[in-house]
């Protein structure tokens, strides 16, 4: 018998329909992967199962847990079920915990609310649960506060709160999206272990096909509030029926086409030469008289980007890659080292001459925050003209802006619009147009596609590859997502704790990682092909 059966679920908020004909199910001991891009309705489905919908929401259909109908059940009974029979893990571990209560209290609360246990019993269960999720007593006593834990550790606490009473169903909504690759692997491993040990049914909601391919027994794909395809994972990947499934899969595995580059000639000025850069942050003093300590975010980094090549800089959060990129962009001063851009040196004090700034531009991660909401697109794209000795004006300026927009796949008439009239992917195109317009030697792309949906991401990567081929501009591509870096770079640098631990051509580093950290990173990264191959091997047995 199925543990969870959702039958013909429909949801609307006010006048807007959100979900239509949603049919999903999870068995005991089974992992269901619910996949969809943003706006597909997957989170709303989860909230509908938990009956935690916003005030204005109207839901119809059936949600049965272990044969009992949840839809329309009165609130008191639902409270008894939540946390006890169904546990839920949310996406943002940094904000999911009450900052003023200890982790012990928060996990024990689940027990106290349901089981009528005494304080002492609840604390014992909390301790045991925290041990189960990999937070042993020695380092993580019950009186720790959330702000003393890292993101991955907080997520473990959230999982502990959800499973403390050994529920039959666990719903995890994008549990690892906000986490590092290695931490993500650990959390997924934890979830898999819980499914194996407790026989709990897991509904894993994510946008990442690779994550799901490794861990899910069955997959359901959602789009625009409907389930478009469901099936056994191996079977589904072998034979995809719905065109959207095929498109999603293609986009996830997409590798843009790039020309073979000629090797750089000897004596050619490198696009950027970074030598021994050190960047330190002062830390607050422990006592007024103690010496001032500092934190080394970048610890003696050196590398070169040659003309015509694209270089990737990979590392997890906190490794210093963003700090390094800010130093190259001359936004922050360096404490030691030198950076030379196409022959023009940076002052090192957080400033740069116009000549140096002309050689580089940047595309940031957040397509919404990158633009002043009050300026029109023409003004936004033309901003770098400020750096030219003789900036174009009037009609000439307008022509160049229009050309830049067309280069990135937008229309010339878009120059008169405001930025809020564009979608996320389109805004990144505008950002790329702005970066390209003065033909810099180097464009730094700082997590430029990380915030985009998979299908949009594929389009932008195509655009970047095309521009790189045509315009001979070099990229420094900073990312935490290895698959993206692999697709678009010639060489890759792996960074950890402020140092470059490995360097080499992209293919070499991926096929033959030398440094243990690189190996760990590659092994942890969800890899669609690898998971597929494993499944197929399993299927044949």
């Amino acid at each position: 018998m199925s543990l969870l059966v959702v039958d013909n679920l429909a949801l609307s908020i006010g006048d807007t329909p959100i979900l239509r004909n949603v049919d999903v199910g999870v068995d005991e001991g089974e992992v269901l992967g619910l996949i969809g891009e943003s706006g597909s309705g997957k989170t709303m489905t989860a909230l509908s199962i938990m009956q935690l919908l916003p005030q204005a929401a109207r839901a119809t259909g059936s949600v049965r847990l272990g044969g009992n109908e949840l839809m329309g059940l009165e609130e008191g009974r639902l409270c008894a079920i939540r946390g006890n029979d169904i546990g839920m893990v949310f996406q943002e571990p940094m904000t999911a915990l009450n900052p003023v209560k200890t982790i012990g209290d928060q996990v024990a609360e689940t027990v106290l609310v349901h089981a009528g246990a005494s304080r002492r019993e609840a604390r014992d269960i909390a301790r045991e649960t925290l041990n189960r999720v990999g937070l042993p007593a020695a380092e993580f006593p019950l009186d720790r506060f959330p702000h003393e834990l890292s993101g991955g550790q907080r997520q473990r606490v959230v999982v502990a709160m959800a499973i403390a009473l050994r529920p039959r169903l666990l719903i995890a909504d994008e549990p690892t999206t906000a986490l590092d690759v290695t931490t993500q692997a650990q959390i997924l491993e934890l979830l898999r272990k819980l499914v194996d040990e407790d026989g709990v049914g897991l509904m894993l909601i994510t946008h990442d096909l690779a994550v799901v391919a490794g861990i899910a027994h069955r997959i359901a794909i959602m789009r625009d509030g409907e389930v478009v395809e469901t099936g056994d994972t191996t079977a589904l990947f072998g034979t995809m029926h719905h065109p959207y499934t095929k498109a999603l899969f293609a986009a996830s595995a997409h590798v843009p086409h790039r020309h073979r580059r000629p090797a750089p000639g000897p004596g050619q000025t490198p696009v950027v030469a970074v030598e021994g850069v050190v960047r330190e942050y002062p830390l607050p003093r422990r006592t007024p008289l103690a010496p001032r300590r500092s934190f080394r975010a970048v610890d003696g980094v050196s590398f070169v980007v040659h003309r015509g090549e694209n270089v990737g800089l990979v590392g997890e959060s906190g490794c210093g890659k963003s700090t390094l990129s800010r130093a190259i962009l001359a936004l922050d001063p360096m404490q030691a080292g030198s950076i030379v851009l196409d022959g023009e040196p940076l002052t090192g004090r957080g400033g740069a001459s116009q000549a140096a700034r002309r050689k580089m531009q940047v595309v940031f991660q957040d397509p919404y925050g990158s633009f002043n909401p009050r300026h029109k697109v023409e003004r936004l794209v033309a901003e770098p003209f400020h750096l030219l000795a003789e900036p174009p004006a009037g009609a000439a300026r307008r022509r160049q802006v229009e050309q830049a927009l067309e280069d990135v796949g937008l229309r010339a008439s878009d120059a008169d619009k405001f930025i809020h009239e564009f979608s996320g992917g389109q805004r990144q195109r505008v950002a790329i147009a702005r970066a390209l317009i003065i033909r810099p030697a180097l464009i730094i792309l700082d997590e430029a596609v990380s915030a985009l949906d998979v299908s949009i991401r594929a389009q932008i990567l195509d655009l970047l590859a095309d521009l790189s081929n045509r315009l001979h501009v070099s990229y420094l591509f900073i990312a935490h997502d290895l698959s993206v870096v692999r697709a678009i770079t010639d060489r890759v640098l792996v960074m950890k704790a402020g140092r470059i631990v490995e360097e080499g051509t992209t293919e070499e580093v991926f096929k033959n990682p030398q440094h243990p950290y690189t190996r760990e990173l590659i092994a942890a990264a969800p890899n669609l092909e690898r998971a597929m191959a494993a499944r197929q091997a399993e299927g044949r047995r």
Partner: protein
Amino acid sequence: MIVEETPAVEPRAELGRAALRTRSLVAGAILTLVFIAAALISFVYTPYDVTVLAIPNRLMPPSPAHWFGTDHFGRDILSMIMVGARTSIAVAFIAVGIGIGLGVPLGLTAAANRRSLLDEAIMRGNDLIFAFPALLIAILITAVFGPGAVNAIVAIGIFNIPVFARVTRGAALSLWTREFVLSARVAGKGRVRISLEHILPNLTNLLIVQGTIQFSLGILAEAALSYVGLGAQPPTPSWGRMLADAQTMIGLAPHMALIPGMAIVVMVLGLNLMGDGLRDVFDPRIRRSRS
């Protein structure tokens, strides 16, 4: 974190329509405009001349001849209210002007030079002024330098400066970390240019809302100062002084105390409603959660 593909900010036309839909904004604007209109009209016409005393008519309750009655000197209270509106509005408005004119540049400078000595100095200066109860500063200044409308403006204005400086600095600091400002820095623009081109224009909504709040506080402060005799001096009518005069006769002629007080309440209420409404209109998140 994956951002949704749909845009999050609404275009200008939407803003205008939303403004009309927001009831508090409309109500507040109407109330405020009534008083502003009364003040302006008083320059060319008032039902009676407020400089003429008419003792035989003193302390008359509201009637068709005198809609709000007369005071202890026989002056028509409606006319007094209209002329008094001039004082209140002028004092509060100029005081807000002083606050914005000096406070906003200070706040922008502090944010643009974060953690420097300049920033520290401005912050400490702010804290220092905040350590003094607002009305106390006003009383001190008007007492030491002499009572009168001009000194009242200066006194209230002085307290507005750190308010605007603090609000500006706070909002500007968060804007400085935004990526479009980083892009401007990468495009080679300097701090002053960025403050004027990027930071300030994105603060106007906040400043408008804060301005209406400070305006309403200014009305209350001017009334308090006039009440204790430190605001505009006779023969210039002012609402606060009308209340002081009314106090001794409150048993005999309650209308003398009720009317000016209600004028203050309605004007301040109108401004606050307007401020609330503007805040709702400017923040798309609040609007969406209402629908």
